[in-house]
């Protein structure tokens, strides 16, 4: 098989859907993960260890278990799914929007943990210094904490993106296998293998492998070059 044939036979739809899902999920995660990580890094609340455990749960829970609970939760009779049906007329399960919610929960620790570690490394000292120099809390976050946490943000983005790109169990449970709607790249690979289409499976797998490897190289190179963030 030539390269041109491989590209022609490529499952563009699945690849596109995966990238879109990863992009949307990572963006949402960076937005909601920042305040969560900030709170975990600075709070002395007794609820902190419980919150940490809940956020880390996707790391240890079998994806099918998580997927099963999410399917029930997002389905037409579920708490969120039911509400969604009343508002929009359709359920969240077996739809792209459902996949986004599931991926956000599934990839949460991969974004929150690097951010939390970055904020903990910065500590409160530069933040107090900024406050005494007249910076409001938001100003301090934007111009001191965020630039100092750049390495953490890069790691969080890449890990969140790569992890969402590679998920299988949760997606299969919540989204099923509808081409163009919920069939992501990992499920397409599984499909191809099931129907003994090894060439297509090879191409897609190689793309995922290269993408993951390249992103990790990039993160490592960045973190080595700028241990704390000299431009």
């Amino acid at each position: 098989m030539t390269l041109i044939e491989a590209i022609e036979n490529l499952d563009w739809q699945a690849l596109q859907l995966s990238l879109l899902l990863a992009f949307v999920t990572t963006s949402i995660l960076l937005l909601i993960g920042t305040p969560m990580a900030w709170w975990l890094a600075h709070s002395k609340s007794r609820l902190k260890s419980t919150a940490e455990a809940v956020i880390s749960l996707p790391l240890v829970l079998p994806p099918t278990v998580l997927g099963f609970y999410l399917l029930i939760f997002l389905g037409p009779y579920g708490w969120l799914g039911g509400a969604w049906v009343t508002i929009t007329g359709h359920a969240l399960s077996f739809r792209f929007s459902g996949l986004v919610i599931a991926s956000v929960i599934y990839s949460l620790p991969f974004v929150v943990q690097p951010l939390q570690r970055a904020f903990e490394t910065i500590g409160t000292k530069p933040l107090e210094a900024a406050a005494t120099l007249g910076a409001t809390p938001w100003d301090t976050f934007k111009n001191v904490a965020f630039p100092l946490a750049r390495g953490g943000y890069l790691t969080a983005t890449i890990l969140g993106f790569a992890h969402t790109l590679g998920e299988f169990g949760v997606v299969l449970m919540v989204g099923g296998n509808i081409p163009g709607q919920t069939q992501v790249i990992s499920i397409a690979i599984y499909d191809h293998v099931e129907s003994l289409e090894y060439t297509q499976a090879h191409t897609l797998s190689a793309i995922l492998l290269l993408l993951s490897f390249a992103s990790l190289i990039f993160v490592n190179a960045f973190n080595r070059r700028t241990p704390i963030g000299i431009p």
């Binding site: 107090e128 210094a129 900024a130 406050a131 120099l133 100003d139 100092l148 704390i228």
Partner: protein
């Protein structure tokens, strides 16, 4: 500038209940041993301790008054705080660090000039560099510059010299003195180092176990026998004296101090005639005699009157003498005290073995 602060704060098993009410100008020293609550006190002033209860007013502005529910957050308090560690922003170069507070300052009249601060602190060559590449002394100079460039109502320094060697800290001390001389900004300088306080401060507050136990002019505070400073091993007096004459043959300078005017001699240290200098006399270097000695190698002899006597340990006493209007401390043995029958009001001669120039 009027300054009043009263706080209550409990942190674990430490309780701060301090008040300081004074007219602040020049350099005010806040002295106390480690763990006496100095840093916590400063943090309360800067608004960094949100659980503190109390009242702060500086000049005519109220920064905190919990009885009225007023608590200005740190970024609204016009105070420059120099931390023990420099706390520079590592992602910004020196110039941007210096500008960080200045750009956010509410006081835009620029009473404190960028050029003057950069010149006094010798920051010109550092502006493009990043904090990681600076020595400890350089970092602390940038931190002092960063705080003062915000045009603060007062500058607070929390042992900025703690992590520095002697040469380095002497250099920074002279920078602080020239900043104070040229910019006339009130400074609250915290330290557990007596020498540092004596070189810098005009006014002193003493802190012990979370309480400010005494405040007053430095000369009084360090010689009051009811306060701990007069009982330390390095107990001493500080005098301000004026250089009046040089004797090139013996390489000695003549200085005058106090009222009625007293004369003292000090090895010539390139002093200028007419200059006012601070000299320090350690209690351990002062001995007492009832009669004026005729043949002695000691040059500095003062007629003095015993003002107060305090027992230090079973063997030693601290005697506070008045030389004119200046107090001087002498540490003597119990044996000598009894042999000379030293008591309050007695007139005698204080022989001073050595006098240290503080600057």
């Amino acid at each position: 500038m009027k300054f009043e602060a009263r706080f209550n704060l409990s942190k674990g098993d430490f309780t701060l209940t301090s008040q300081l009410s004074t007219s602040i100008s020049g350099v005010t020293g806040l002295f106390g041993t480690s763990g006496s609550g100095k840093t916590t006190f400063l943090r309360c002033l800067a608004g960094l301790e949100q659980n503190s209860q109390g009242y702060i007013s500086v000049a005519d502005d109220i920064w905190q008054d919990d009885s009225k529910g007023i608590f200005l957050p740190p970024h609204q308090r016009p105070v420059g705080l120099v931390f023990q560690e420099s706390r520079l922003f590592e992602h910004l170069n020196v110039a941007d660090n210096l500008l960080f507070g200045r750009q956010r300052s509410k006081i835009k009249n620029d009473s404190i000039s960028w050029d003057v601060v950069v010149e006094i602190l010798e920051l010109g060559n550092l502006l493009k560099r990043y904090p990681q590449g600076l020595s400890g002394g350089e970092q602390q100079r940038v931190a002092i510059g960063r705080a003062i460039l915000t045009n603060p109502k007062m500058l607070i320094m929390d042992e900025p010299l703690a992590s520095m060697d002697q040469t380095g800290s002497r250099r920074i001390l002279s920078f602080i003195l020239s900043l104070q001389n040229q910019l006339q900004i009130p400074i609250l300088h915290v330290s557990h180092n007596m020498g540092e306080i004596l070189q810098l401060a005009d006014f002193l507050a003493i802190m012990e176990q979370g309480k400010i136990i005494a405040t007053g002019p430095v000369g009084d505070m360090i010689t009051r026998l009811d306060l701990p400073l007069a009982h330390r091993n390095d107990a001493s007096t500080v005098l301000t004296a004026k250089v009046v004459n040089h004797d090139p043959a013996y390489h000695l300078s003549t200085l005058e101090f106090g009222y009625p005017t007293q004369t003292l001699y000090i090895a010539n240290n390139n002093l200028t005639i007419g200059e006012n200098v601070r000299v320090r006399i350690f209690a351990r270097d002062v001995s007492l005699t009832l009669d004026h000695p005729n043949n002695t190698s000691i040059l500095n002899l003062f007629t003095a009157e015993v003002d107060e006597i305090s027992n230090q340990n079973p063997a030693q006493y601290m005697v506070k003498l008045m030389v004119g209007n200046n107090p001087i401390l002498a540490r003597i043995t119990k044996k000598s005290l009894e042999a000379l029958a030293i008591k309050k009001g007695l007139s005698l001669i204080a022989q001073v073995k050595s006098i240290a120039l503080e600057r």
